[in-house]
Symmetry: D2
Subunit: 418 residues, 4 copies
């Protein structure tokens, strides 16, 4: 074996680390926890283990390894999520109806594909396209690591037996300080900048004319949202989008997803089990409808995704750029890619998920990765506590439907400066 | 330990045997197979293991064992199926959303309850009511053994990976002989007779005026039903009940449940995997709608449940009672409880499930066992290949909804003699 | 025009009278009332006007009038209800989506078909089959007269504006006397007897072995049912069939169909508008589920359809037949067709709608009239206040699904005599 | 009566004209056509007649006429569409279940409110707020005139009898010329400009940074879309949004809303009845999903709403502003409000319906007019053949859900200039 070039060596190291992390995330689970799908949007953990593996098999081994023979030809259909161009796939709501392959069989699948990927890399036959797909596959698996946390939390919460992911003890949150940061009117550059990896939907970097705005430096806490709830705002149409009001009434929504009210006290289901609601903790697991209603109740608004990207990018180097606030000198602002944040919750933006100007989807197999979902989704920004550390970027565009709540979603408020 | 009386000793022996059989039925399963619920009517095997155990805990230990402390108080809700009088219960369609308790935990539950039931019996403190409930619990568990076979077959069939319960080889069926047996007009006694156990719905034994009829001595085969299908009868309204026609069209029903047509050949999914359709085998897994349509297509009809009980009861001692066919001397016919049949499929009757004259539901806890289901169900008679041997009686009334197919249901035809 | 034979003359007279009555029933309606279909089972009145006319066109004129040209070929599809043998038809739930043909156009259709039927009859060319179909068509239209009352009541009740069919004043009901009538064990003859018209499902008259029973001579009143409601019986599972309990909970059923509770008082919507609930009036517009639950709450039961036919047939000539109660001499009882009853409500029976022994469906076009509905329906007996006078017979088998309530359905209780 | 000021006099004239136009639009209808609601989104015409009247009663008479007594207090609930702040309202899908009030009663309602509004205006007591609400009410009624055309077309199309709105003869369309118009990169002003009326969602006028783009000068024709269909593009996932692909498959969508294929020829249902598809006519009645798929199939894209506003505004005065195309001098472009267009179809944009920067909803009663619908809708621009002449503006933002098709929606293609 010859020496690999730096980039490939780095990719291999990251590949191995990310693959191991996925397995580690599942360690606290019982075998039965890997199988169930309590609602269509929550996939069985064993499906995630297999699907992330299928991604490497389908897009790299099948294409770049000569005479490759699939581990199991049926896996092609079973573990394809939504890539129509590579064949039919099992319908998403059926994932939890399939007891086979077993978790052990999927572990074997992972081990087998890992061995072949390592061999492919070690043989240093990786062309640029394969390297790009490998890097994308690593990022893809990191996305699924966050999904695993979301789905595991949901699955464990459905058990009528008390079940928790971790038995560690949590310390209490401190009261956040609530100050506002203001940004001036002008042209800003938005979107991914630089050589590092990004998804197609973060590109191209482009100019955006922005009016002056302020963003709150702390996210909304459980305590603040409890005040909204205690004002009976779930029963007051004036705060809600029309679709939101229908949703609240149809599903009898009365509190955030994991909250419950028992014997006069509020509790929150967490990965650490059912805990008394910590009023200083960031509010999490709310829908766009609830986020928007809360902002209306506060006479404020949700930020746009540009505003949140500008804000997030500023958290390091705003101080060195005092001119940014000057309305009279609009200029292109370059976000700094370095991320010292410890993000807690993905924050809903009022921006519906749309292509950037001059957007081009990835070529080839990954053409379906992002563009076909640009309809009836809202963008969330900022990352969350279960987002893998080196996965997040300020230009990262997460997106969910307005009623979805099982992701770690919260609120950061904004307002116009007029 | 003193000597138990015969009846109780016998009960204990049967209890142990039946409990072991349930476990044996599940032996070929993988852990993951115990968890899934692909449709609401198919319960996860681990639920059956727990529910049959709960039956003994709820109705015997809780009532007859002094100072009894439940194994786990939450199991009372989790494993109650539909007995409203003993508290709330988990909704049936949610059973497959619960990963906990695990199969291992349920095994512990079974072992624990078994130990306590054995102790209760061995202490010879069993009053008559407790003995009756114990006997009912044994029969109840046998019912669930048949349900386990039904549910396991359905669960394994849903896997897109080829999966089978047994790998044994099957011999081919012989061509059945098709003759008719005729019964004369008159009064017949219907319902359970004798001292042995029966459910409340088989009682009381009562007189029924019966017109002359014939029953086919063989059940309908796959080959006969294939002729119906090949006559495009699934597309001809005139053979179908109105509800049946709607069902066929809404769900695009084109063949029996486990049949499939691949590359010009018909296959049938069985507990032995996917096999070429054996034309001599009894037709199985069809709905009432299909059974009724087939009978219409044949210009024949399904039997009533009285007719089938009379026929089944006659299979041993008809020869010794030649007067039965004489229309001029209607008389009460006493079915013989002895059962030399090797029944293959439950046969649909045209009788909707209703109470017998002067029917009384069981008193007390088991009041809900049967009566509350007497609505929109059709009776099936005769037992099937997965009915436990000493569980079946000729008076046994099985019942399912007209569209259901996952039980081992088939057709025995009848006609009027006018 | 020559002289018609008596039977044909009589048919013509009845035809004209029945056709006129249908029109008269609709007189109080506004044009808009003819169009709407608030739920699938309630058809627009204009559809009834056209469908009853189509029946004569399709089954008589098209078949027996030489060179007949349809009034409008599209009506064949539009106004066929469910006769698959004569071609495709508009789906029932779409009837209220069709604004055309207008009421005026349908009036023209009626007039045109009437003229041709009269001509056909007057030309005394009516063969026996045509005469039978004509008679059936008359009975069919009478069935739709009752349906018109049911549907009109439902349609007017849906208006948020107060709307009533008649503005006449109602006198109050007297307290009914509640006595029981007992019938002895034995063989009874059930089913239509005699030469007069009946539907196929009332035939053949046959022997039925009946155990001793009593029937209450008065139907259940609003006051009696209010006591059930006030005992919170809608919230007590033990009284309900399993399907009934699901229905009550899914649709949040809390009272009979047309009842409402306003400012501490109960009201009932009637054809005379919204009136305070008259406690002495017969209870009406309840489902089988409610009827069965009420009987359970009373520790009584609903009668079988045989029992109700025996009871109804006895209301005239029971007194002259004192031996009927003697268990020791079971005998065939012949109901008297003469009907002096003024029936108020159709009474639910516990009998699911099934074919009589040796039942044969009508031949030919009307083969679909009854038999294909023998599934998941319960029989009601006795006629009601809106049943046309000369339409009802004691052998008449009405049938509805267990959850339906918009017909004039009520309760007559029964019990075993043991 | 004293002389009214000009503005008020003008308002009165427009009020009378618009009210009359609404009545004129309904002239070809039969009474029955006013009543039906074949799908939830299509309201009965009589509801539109009443709701537009209610708008004036609720927001003007109730507020500004002293001691005003409502025409009928129940109309407040019946004809409120979605204004939660003024009380409960009838659920939208129930509109077609209500036969009352009749069309005649609604005509009386219209006449009565008109008389009172005329009196209120003539008494020249109209404050600014009332004048604004009156003007808004006139625009609101014009919106409903377009909705009336949409709903009438849908209602008539549902009739299985051939039914048309007009029997006039149509001339054939000419082949459109297909050229592209290009706009340069730079800052453009977007949104309503000037003193004339506009809705809150068109405001405020704001700067938007725009990259260079071209817009096709003709809209897509039936012929162009037929080529897409004939390429089997409805069956090729690669052209469709993920939600669009699900929609196509769930509802078995195979062509635009009013197209049908009979005996080898394509037809289009129009207000003039069913006509052979005119290949030169603009494509109309398609969903966003179909518009987006068509653009993808063409390797082009839909315009953003800014692009379409820039294009539409340019159709008059582009020639006098040659610098607009110069990328090196981005400048604010002021659309000319004058509209010489004869727009044919509303064109889908890829812009999801969101608030403009610094958007403020109308104060008071009309706060709910627009903002609460800014979720899961796409913007359409340009007006259509049934848009009232003096109602349309280039800044006008129409919006519908991605699957909706019953509005007069079509396609104008765009592309990037890079």
């Amino acid at each position: 074996m010859t020496i690999l070039n730096n980039h490939i060596q780095q990719l291999l190291t990251r590949y191995l680390a990310v693959r191991q992390t996925t397995v580690d995330i599942c360690k606290p689970l019982q075998n039965e926890d890997f199988v169930v799908q309590p609602v269509a949007e929550v996939s069985p953990p064993k499906w995630h283990l297999a699907h992330t593996t299928w991604f490497f098999e389908e897009f790299i081994l099948c294409k770049f390894q000569k005479n490759y023979v699939r581990f199991n030809p049926q896996y092609s259909k079973l573990f394809n999520s939504y890539y129509k161009s590579v064949g039919i796939h099992t319908a998403q709501p059926n994932r939890g109806n399939l007891s086979r392959p077993t978790v052990n069989e999927i572990d074997e699948y992972r081990a087998n594909i890992d061995a072949q990927i390592i061999k492919l890399i070690s043989d240093h036959t990786l062309c640029d396209e394969a390297a790009f797909l490998l890097e994308t596959g690593i990022h893809h698996e990191q996305q699924h690591q966050e999904l695993l946390f979301m789905d595991i939390k949901y699955i464990l919460s459905c058990n009528e037996l008390e079940t928790c992911y971790s038995t560690a003890e949590l310390s209490h949150a401190h009261t956040p300080q609530s100050s506002w940061k203001t940004f001036g009117e002008g042209l800003y550059a938005i979107g991914h900048d630089g050589e590092n990896f990004s998804y197609d939907n973060e590109q191209p970097r482009h100019k955006n004319y922005q009016y002056a705005f302020s963003v709150c430096e702390s996210v909304v806490t459980n305590g603040e949202f409890l005040a909204f709830l205690q004002d009976n705002a779930y029963y007051k149409a004036q705060y809600w989008l029309s679709d939101g009001w229908n949703w609240v009434n149809q599903y009898q929504i009365k509190c955030p997803l994991y909250w419950s009210y028992v014997d006069g006290k509020w509790y929150e289901y967490t990965l650490y089990g059912l805990l008394p609601l910590d009023l200083n903790n960031p509010l999490v697991h709310i829908s766009y409808f609830e986020a928007d209603a809360f902002a209306n109740w506060k006479n404020l608004r949700l930020p746009t995704e540009s505003e949140l990207e500008i804000y997030l990018s500023s958290t390091q180097n705003m101080r060195s750029d005092p001119k940014l606030n000057t309305i009279s000198s609009p200029k292109i602002y370059h976000p700094n890619a370095a991320n010292a944040l410890s993000p807690q919750v993905w924050c809903w933006t009022r921006s519906q998920y749309s292509p950037y100007p001059q957007y081009k989807a990835f070529d080839g197999a990954l053409n379906e990765y992002n563009g076909k979902f640009m309809c009836n989704q809202f963008v969330l920004r900022g990352g969350c506590i279960v987002t893998p550390d080196n996965h997040y970027r300020h230009s990262y565009r997460n997106f969910y439907q307005a009623q979805q709540r099982w992701m770690f979603s919260g609120i950061r408020l904004a307002k116009d400066i007029i």
